[in-house]
Point group: C2
Chain length 323, copies 2
């Protein structure tokens, strides 16, 4: 199956959109890349980075003649975008997206698309805490999963063509039902982000003196939460607005479990705490075995060298050399 498209239209050019542009170009997957975005400033940035061939503020212009259209804007903008591009889509085109929720996307986009196009929502499970066109890099998808959630009416060869495109960028591809995707992502992604935002928020409410110490001593665990909580606020607002039911369901389970832990702390139930802290190790092991993580300590963060050895007894007895 060819992974090649004549014209790729990227609507939105943040971290994911720009990474697709770079990866698709490097792998020779497209002849022409058209980039549309809402803000002139972002468009100029994309042009400076040479991410595409056509740059426009008009999504309709970008999709004209495109055989692959990928919505890379915040999910909250999809409804309006679908209304704009629907009437001008090329018959036979594949329409996809990269949003973190999928049932909602089907609900707001599908009604505005003509019967002559193939709508295959997608979600590359890849990202960093950085946003904007300059954050993208061609290796972002390598070794990462991309989930496609085609409707029942999409021919298998169309889904396979889009899957080939993602595989050519390094992704592993899996198809599933949109509702199931949303439930799995609620616990793997949305609740972790909600909790990370929440704990950083709790710190933001501490008195200033304590807050500066929190920042100083953040390497003890808190730091990792702040990375997660540094992700794009608008994107995450939209995630929680559009995957509400699955998020509330998983948040309920999380809070139930936390009450059990809270009680174990309060009653000093060491055996329960140790049992709970032990069984979580198996899941970590599975993630490393599944190639989704490295075993490098501390996430592979660089560790600086300690100072040059200090021959302290010499300095003590008559050194005085502070160099």
């Amino acid at each position: 199956m060819s992974a090649h498209f004549r014209k790729l239209a990227l609507i939105g050019i943040g971290l994911i959109g720009s990474s697709i542009a770079l990866a698709a170009r490097r792998q020779g997957l497209v002849d022409v890349i058209a980039i549309a975005t809402r803000r002139q400033e972002t468009l100029d940035e994309a042009r400076d980075l040479k991410l595409g061939d056509i740059y426009t503020l008009d999504a309709a212009e970008a999709v004209r003649g495109a055989d692959l259209v990928i919505l890379c804007a915040p999910v909250g903008a999809y409804d309006a975008l679908a209304r704009i591009i629907g009437p001008v889509l090329e018959p036979g085109a594949i329409i996809s997206d990269v949003g973190s929720v999928k049932e909602h996307v089907v609900k707001v986009v599908a009604p505005h698309l003509p019967k002559t196009v193939y709508f295959i929502p997608g979600h590359p499970i890849a990202g960093t805490e950085h946003s904007g066109p300059s954050a993208g890099f061609a290796e972002l998808f390598a070794g990462r999963w991309c989930v496609l959630t085609p409707g029942a009416d999409v021919p298998a060869d169309k889904t396979e063509k889009l899957a080939a495109f993602w595989r050519a960028m390094g992704s592993k591809v899996e198809s599933m039902d949109a509702a199931h995707h949303d439930m799995v992502l609620a616990i793997t992604s949305h609740i972790p982000h909600l909790v990370a935002y929440n704990i950083v928020g709790t710190v933001a409410d501490l008195e200033t003196a304590t807050q500066s110490e929190v920042i100083k001593f953040s390497a003890s665990g808190f730091r990792d939460f702040t990375r997660i909580a540094a992700s794009d606020p608008v994107m995450w607002r939209d995630v929680f607005l559009t995957n509400r039911d699955a998020v509330l369901e998983m948040l309920g389970r999380f809070l139930e479990d936390l009450s059990v832990l809270q009680r174990a702390v309060r009653t000093g139930d060491g055996a329960s705490l140790e049992a709970m802290f032990t069984r979580t190790r198996a899941i970590r092991r599975s993630i490393i075995d599944a190639g989704q993580e490295t075993t490098a300590p501390d996430f592979g963060r660089p560790h600086e060298a300690p100072p040059e050895p200090t021959v302290t007894f010499v300095r003590e007895h008559g050194g005085g050399d502070d160099a």
Copy 2:
């Protein structure tokens, strides 16, 4: 102030103990390193790694003649250890530790120490998710904070000598009150770990089919929690048993804030969600500015290269070369 000691006794030789042994040796800070640990297997491992000069299962033997003793065992073992070493400590010796809680340590250790030694509890804010003697490395403390919580009766020059020892291993050193330490660490470290353990536990309770998908798609946020939740279970059990009040206080604040977020999700209050998700960015920025974190995307995890460019139209029309 000389950072040099004649004989360093390390009681316990896990990640922190072994890192101290390696860093102190490399920096020439000690003449002799004595290592005591509870299990023969761990002691053999330490010997194979050449971490010290004296190896023993008897903590009393290790501390005999030592002018610096550092407890590196789980905090739950401190009471018993203090009773064993107390009677044989060298007059004038500095006794310290590396436990994650400090008020409790003072409570269980101090009563068993003779008046002739200087007890200066310590906490190097550094670590990885790995444990055991083989997990240690000499650079672990470089650029990281070490908190000392000396009692009011400890002469300043003794605290300064221990601080010099830590600085020579690369640490930045700060002294503070034990109770204040425990409150700051509750929010920067203990609550993040509790929450991470909890979310991984919630996943462990999902049905098996969903669980394997959670592992597959863990790069979306969950993965980072599993690293934190892979830390040593016994150490963390002891942290929660011994810093109960500060943990419950901070957990209360965290849960209060989470209720507000939960309500915003339920009612679809996008403005509040976005405001909350935006203000957390400033804290992340402060942590990077404070040198406690790198700006490298995705924690500097290595990103694999995508596959070699596939000239798909050639392969499609007659290639057949799968090489």
